[in-house]
Symmetry: C2
Subunit: 372 residues, 2 copies
C-alpha cells in the first residue's frame, strides 16, 4: 500500500504547512507529498497567486481538478487525491483535524498521525532561517527601542503616574506604540506585554492601566515578520526613575542567570539541566521558587526558554521535561525571570542559535534597568 504525506490546514495558523509550501493564504488548503512528488491544492481564488508564490518543485492544482460527481467536500476531494496517487495511507501531523481523519478512515483510507514533529528538521535551522531570525530580532529591537524611548521621554507626576505627550502613560498606549513601530517594519505582534508593577508578577498578563515610577515594567515583544513568517522574541524590564532595592537585586540575579545560561547552550548540553541550573542559581541569589498560602506562586515558575521559528513556541523546549541534548542549529530563547505578587516581576530574554561548542546570540539590545 502506497503512502503519502498530507497536511490540510490554514497556512496562517499551521507552521508546518507554511514550512512545506512557503505559501500563505487566509483559508485552508491541501499539501501532499509522495516520494519526490509534492503538490498543493487550492481554491480557484488562490490558484494564480499560489503558482507565483509557492516553493520550487511544488505542483499547484485547483480543487476542481479533484471534484467528481459534484462532491466538493474536503473529504471527498482527499478521496479523489488518494485514488489519483494510488495511496492507501496518509501520514498527517498530530494536529490534523479529527473529523476529516475519521471521514477518510470510514472510506477505507488509513490515516496515521505523526508520533513526533511532522517536519523534525524544523527544529534545526538552516543559515537562511537563522538570518531570518536575526532580522526578526533586529526588528523586535526597534519595538523595544520605541518603548524605552517613550519611558525616557515620560515625566513623573506628583502622584507617581508617568505622563507622555501630555497624558497619563498606560500599558495600552505603550503596547500600541510598540506594535505601530513593528507594523512600520511589516511585523505583527498580537499579544505584546507591557505590564507594570504587580501585573508583571503574572508572566502572561499583558498589562492595563497607568504606569508608575519606581515599579518594574516588563516588556515582552514577540512579533511575526510577515515577509518570512519567522518570529522575534525579546523581553526587557525597566523602571522609570529609581528602582526599589528588591527589584534591583532581582534584576541582577536574573541578568546573571541569563548570561550564565547562554554560555551553557551548546551542542551536547541538556535543556533540562540548564533549566535546573537557572532555578538553583536564582535561589542561591535569594530568589527561590514556591507557592504562598494564598495559592500565588513566586520565584521562577515557567520554562527557561523555547524554540523560536515559524512558531513563537516550538521545539525544543528548555525546561525540566526535556532531556534531549542540543545537536546544533536549534534557536532558543533564554528567559529567566522572577515574580512576586508583592512587588511585580523581572524577566530578561535573549535568543541564541546553537552552534557546535557555543551559542551565537541573535539579540543585540542593551540591558538597563533604570531609565532617567
Amino acid at each position: 500500500m502506497k503512502k503519502a504525506s498530507l497536511i490540510v490546514a490554514n497556512a496562517e495558523k499551521s507552521a508546518d504547512l507554511l514550512y512545506a509550501t512557503g505559501f500563505r493564504a487566509p483559508d485552508p488548503y491541501i499539501y501532499f507529498a509522495m516520494g519526490a512528488k509534492r503538490g498543493m491544492i487550492l481554491s480557484e481564488l488562490e490558484y494564480d497567486r499560489g503558482l507565483q508564490e509557492c516553493r520550487d518543485g511544488i505542483h499547484v492544482f485547483r480543487y476542481e481538478d479533484f471534484i467528481r460527481r459534484g462532491k466538493r467536500g474536503m473529504g471527498d476531494i482527499l478521496r479523489v487525491l488518494a485514488k489519483s496517487l494510488k495511496a492507501g495511507s496518509f501520514l498527517v501531523p498530530s494536529d490534523f483535524p479529527l473529523g476529516l481523519a475519521d471521514f477518510l478512515r470510514h472510506h477505507g483510507i488509513e490515516v496515521k498521525s505523526s508520533k513526533h514533529e511532522f517536519f523534525p528538521e524544523r527544529e534545526f535551522k538552516s543559515e537562511r532561517e537563522i538570518d531570518c531570525l536575526r532580522e526578526a530580532q533586529r526588528i523586535t529591537g526597534l519595538g523595544m527601542r520605541r518603548a524605552e524611548n517613550i519611558l525616557r521621554e515620560s515625566d513623573i507626576s506628583p502622584s507617581g503616574v508617568l505622563y507622555w505627550n501630555g497624558a497619563p502613560l498606560t500599558s495600552e498606549i505603550l503596547r500600541a506604540e510598540i506594535n505601530i513601530e513593528l507594523i512600520r517594519h511589516d511585523a505583527f505582534a498580537e499579544s505584546t506585554i507591557a505590564a507594570g508593577g504587580v501585573q508583571g508578577a503574572e508572566p502572561h498578563n499583558e498589562g492595563s492601566g497607568e504606569l508608575y515610577t519606581g515599579a518594574p515594567i516588563v516588556i515582552d515583544i514577540f512579533p511575526k515578520i510577515i515577509a518570512t513568517g519567522y518570529h522575534g522574541d525579546m523581553t526587557r524590564t525597566f523602571v522609570k526613575g529609581e528602582a526599589p532595592e528588591i527589584v534591583r537585586r532581582a534584576y541582577q540575579a536574573v541578568h546573571n542567570t541569563r548570561e550564565r545560561c547562554k554560555t551553557m547552550v551548546r551542542a551536547g548540553a541538556i535543556p533540562a539541566e540548564i533549566h535546573r541550573f537557572a532555578a538553583e542559581f536564582l535561589a542561591q541569589q535569594g530568589f527561590p521558587t514556591g507557592r504562598r498560602a494564598n495559592g500565588k506562586s513566586y520565584g521562577f515558575f515557567h520554562g527557561l526558554g523555547h524554540g523560536l521559528g515559524l512558531e513563537v513556541h516550538e521545539a525544543p523546549r528548555m525546561n525540566l521535561r526535556n532531556p534531549v541534548p542540543f545537536k546544533g542549529g536549534e534557536v532558543v530563547t533564554v528567559e529567566p525571570g522572577v515574580y512576586d505578587s508583592a512587588w511585580g516581576g523581572v524577566r530578561l530574554e535573549d535568543v541564541v542559535a546553537v552552534r557546535g561548542d557555543c551559542a551565537e546570540c541573535l539579540t543585540d539590545y542593551p540591558d538597563q534597568l533604570e531609565l532617567d
Copy 2:
C-alpha cells in the same frame, strides 16, 4: 456511559474555545463541559489570569491538579479528567487534534467528532454580539478612512505614480498606514489588501509596489478587535483621478448588485439563490464569469459572502453550495466583485445582520469610486 464535551486548543486560534470561555492565552488549554458543569484547565502560568478573565460559571483548574505519577502529557491529563468526571466519551470539535484523539481511543476513551459546528449557536448572534460586530465595523471604517484620506492627499507624478509625503505611494505603505490606524484602536489586521491595477484581479493578492492614477485600488480590511475577539470586514475600491470607462461600468454593476443583494438577505431567504442572483445580475450588466484560454478566470468567481464573528470566515457561507434558509441573527458579508486580468478588480463589501424580514446593515461607510 457518561459523556462530556471537550476542546483542547489555543484560544487565539480556536474561535470555539474563545466562545466557550472568553479567555485568551498564547498556549493551548483544556475546556470541558458535562451537564451544567463547565471547567477549564490551565498551566500554572495562566491560572491567576484565567480566574479573573473567564466567563461566569466556569471552574478553573491547574494542570497539576490532574497529574498522576508525574505524567504531564496532554493525553495523560485528559485521561485523569475523564476518570474524575466518570466520563467514557468525549464529544469534540471536528478540528480536534487527531494525535490526541487516537491516544485517548487507544486508552479506551471514546472520542466523537462533532458532525456539525461544535457550537451551532455561534451562527446566530445575540444582540451583544451584534453590538460587538457593529463596533468592529466602525473601527474598520477608521482604517478605510485613513486609506481614503491618503489617496486624496496624494499627488500624481507625470509618470502616473502617486506620491504621498514626498515619496512614491506603495501598497506596502498604504497597508501599513491602515494597520497602524487600526492598532490605535486596538484592532489587528494581518492580511489587509491594498492591491492596485491588475493585482486587484486576484481577489486575495495583498498588493505590492507603486500605486497609479487611473487604475482601481481594491482595499479590503478585516481586523480582529482585540478586546472582544470579533472581526470587522469591509472592502472599497477607489481610483485616484479619473477612472477608465470599463472600471466605472464595473463599479456601477458591483454597486447595484451589492445593494440589491442586501435587500434580499432576510429570514427565509436562501443563500445559494442570492449568490445565483448576484452572478446573473452582474452578467446582465455586462460582466459574465468565465475562464480565458490562458487559464485566467474573469468575472465573479468567489462566494457572495460569508458569516462574520469570532472568525473572519464562518457559517453561514453565502454561495451556490448553501441551500439552508436564513433563520435570523446571522451576520454575513455581502461582497460582489468583478475581476479581469486586463484591467484589475472592483469589489464592494458591506456587512449585514439578518433580522426578521430585512437585513440591518452594520456598515456605515460611503461609496465613492473616483477621488480627486
